[in-house]
């Protein structure tokens, strides 16, 4: 039996909580429930929002009573054990040049690594997209290598540029828009992650991401193509994960 709790978030949303940790097995459960629930197309369900460890289900209580929705979710849970989640594998170009990576020196100093080692440690792993949040198209990717894990800045910056790649604790994000931010900025990605015209995000929960270091010159070429709207990036493959 799957271990989960259904919690009310007012009268128009429920939270299905699988735990309180950042953990790929929990994330897989959340994402497989999201995919299963969305596939049911239940009348009265407005939208679902997957997070690290829970799924929020927004609903219209005048069309669907909370008790009926909970019964449907409980029934879906019975089948969840055998389901799979599907995502894409992306290779995202990132320029770690100090002109973009305003915190790279500080991160190196605080982790007793060279800047080159920080770049290697960051671009080494394959990251899992846990969820999107905070800004449109902003993916929370983990896990950053333990030796790079740092607390957030004591005083957040009032502004970092769109495309900034930053880390905090075991998470990495590319910020799709200019934003205030308390994370450590270690690079910039030229690929637009959010398309405001079509309302689409390049990355989705369950995707896998590897950061590929590029030079300043390569960055500029890619950024120019992005600004002309001709930068196309395709996933390198599909990723299929299963509920453990």
């Amino acid at each position: 039996m799957l271990d989960y709790r259904v919690l009310p978030a007012g009268d128009t949303a429920l939270v299905i909580e699988f735990g309180d940790r950042i953990d790929r097995a929990l994330s897989t459960l959340v994402l497989s429930l999201a995919q299963a629930l969305d596939a049911e197309r239940i009348e009265g369900v407005v939208e679902t929002v997957p997070t690290f460890r829970s799924l929020m289900v927004h609903y219209e209580p005048l069309a669907l009573a909370a008790s009926s929705l909970i019964a449907r979710i409980d029934a879906l849970m019975q089948k969840l054990g055998s389901s799979e989640i599907v995502g894409h594998v992306w290779h995202l170009p990132v320029c770690y040049d100090p002109r973009f990576a305003i915190d790279l020196d500080e991160v190196a100093k605080r982790t007793s690594l060279s800047t080159q080692q920080v770049v290697e440690r960051h671009s080494g792993p394959i990251y899992h997209v846990y969820m999107l949040g905070f800004l449109p198209g902003q993916a929370y990717m983990g896990e950053v290598a333990a030796e790079l894990a740092l607390d957030r800045l004591e005083t957040p910056r009032t502004k970092i540029p769109a495309g900034s790649l930053a880390i905090a604790s075991r998470m990495s994000c590319v910020f799709p828009l200019e934003t205030p931010c308390g994370w450590h900025v270690i690079g910039r990605c030229p690929v637009p992650l959010w398309d405001p015209v079509h309302g689409t995000s390049l990355l989705a929960p369950a995707d896998q991401v590897r950061f590929v270091p590029v030079s300043m010159r390569e960055y500029e070429t890619l950024a120019t193509r992005a600004s002309q709207g001709v930068l196309r990036i395709e996933p390198v493959s599909e990723f299929v994960g299963a509920v453990a």
Binding site: L7, P8, G10, D11, T12, P50, L55, M56, L132, L135
Partner: protein, 347 residues
């Protein structure tokens, strides 16, 4: 020339808002939309629009704008305000009308909306609506995500906001009489989702306390000051999703109620969630208001939502034709202390 309203002064913060942008929270897109959906519907009813049409939402201090079309119909609903209709930008004074009515205005006239009273939000609807392109199905302004409304931001001096209609339809003007916009004594809230991060004693303390809405409040959240609420296991949780009305308790113990522009996910425990039926009343509260909460069940909340939906559906039935110089108008003017203004204007 494109029919438009030309912004002479934007007021404190004026944005275009409709009922919000749902369906994209999983991508990190905030819902946004009117803080006070009841008054948005009222303004649209007076203007002759479908209730979910985008209108201007003014906060605390209203805008001043000129009419750049032959004639158009405006409607005002929400907080009380002195609304002056000047014949041109240089006019010393003009006709003064109260909130909760429609008015026909013509090219060159300037509408000056003063400071709001008895509320934080005023909706200004225009017949036919604004000719702005919806972003992801909504014209609501999302300032953080920079989308929707007018260029994804609050209005600025010099903005020219195009209208869908070049002329007002030929009909009488209306006022709304008897729509109750008063704040409830206590805002109703459902416990959770993280109420188990708080002891029973702290939960009791939360519901027994009166808070003051502080100056740091905005469209993202209402910051409350008062009795601090302690946590059982620290104030950091692994981020999860946020619903509008979520009452999160950060490290300071001072609760924050998340409003229309709230981010989609967050990492503070949420002790309770204000019920959907009480969100419009919460959204129209001004800074300095006293706020307290009462626990209810999800079933009671759903019943309250049904009641509010009936109230909104019934708004059209509370409209009174203005051709009769209704005593109700004079009474409203008295309530707003506007009678001297009317005399000045008439002098």
């Amino acid at each position: 020339m494109t029919p438009a309203l030309r912004i002479i002064s934007p007021g404190l913060s004026t944005t275009i808002q409709d009922v919000g942008r749902s369906g994209f929270q999983r991508l990190g897109v905030s819902v946004s939309g009117a803080l006070d959906l009841v008054s948005l519907h009222a303004a649209n009813a007076l203007a002759g629009n479908p209730g979910n049409t985008g209108a201007l939402e003014a906060l605390y201090v209203g805008p001043t704008f000129a009419v750049d079309t032959d004639d158009t119909r405006l409607a005002f609903a929400g907080a009380d305000a002195v609304i002056e209709i000047l014949d041109d930008a240089d006019a010393r004074g003009g006709e003064i009308i109260p909130t909760m009515r429609s008015v026909r205005v013509r090219r060159g006239q300037v509408i000056r909306v003063g400071s709001l009273k008895n509320g934080a939000t005023l909706y200004i609807a225009v017949e036919g609506g604004f000719a702005v392109a919806p972003a992801l199905g909504s014209v609501s302004t999302d300032s953080r995500g920079r989308m929707g409304g007018w260029q994804g931001r609050p209005l600025l001096e010099g903005d020219v906001i195009p209208l869908r209609r070049a002329t007002a339809s030929d009909r009488d003007e209306y006022l709304i009489d008897g729509l109750d916009l008063a704040a409830p004594r206590r805002f109703r809230a459902v416990l959770g989702p993280q109420s188990d991060n708080f002891s029973d004693q702290e939960i009791e303390r939360f519901f027994a306390s009166e808070y003051t809405m502080s100056a740091g409040s905005n469209r993202m959240g209402m910051r409350l000051e008062g009795q601090a609420i302690g946590h059982l296991r620290g104030f950091n949780i692994v981020s999860d999703a946020i619903a509008t009305g979520s009452i999160q308790v950060p490290g300071s113990g001072q609760p924050i109620v998340l409003l229309a522009d709230h981010q989609t996910t967050g990492g503070y425990p949420k002790i309770a969630t204000v019920i959907s039926a009480d969100l419009p009343a919460l959204g129209r509260l001004p800074i300095g208001s006293k706020v307290s909460f009462a626990p209810v069940t999800v079933e009671e909340a759903a019943a309250a939502r049904r009641e509010l939906a009936a109230t909104v559906d019934g708004i059209a039935g509370t409209m009174v034709r203005l051709s009769i110089p209704a005593t109700a108008v004079a009474e409203r003017l008295l309530e707003c202390n506007l009678i001297s203004g009317v005399q000045d204007a008439a002098a």
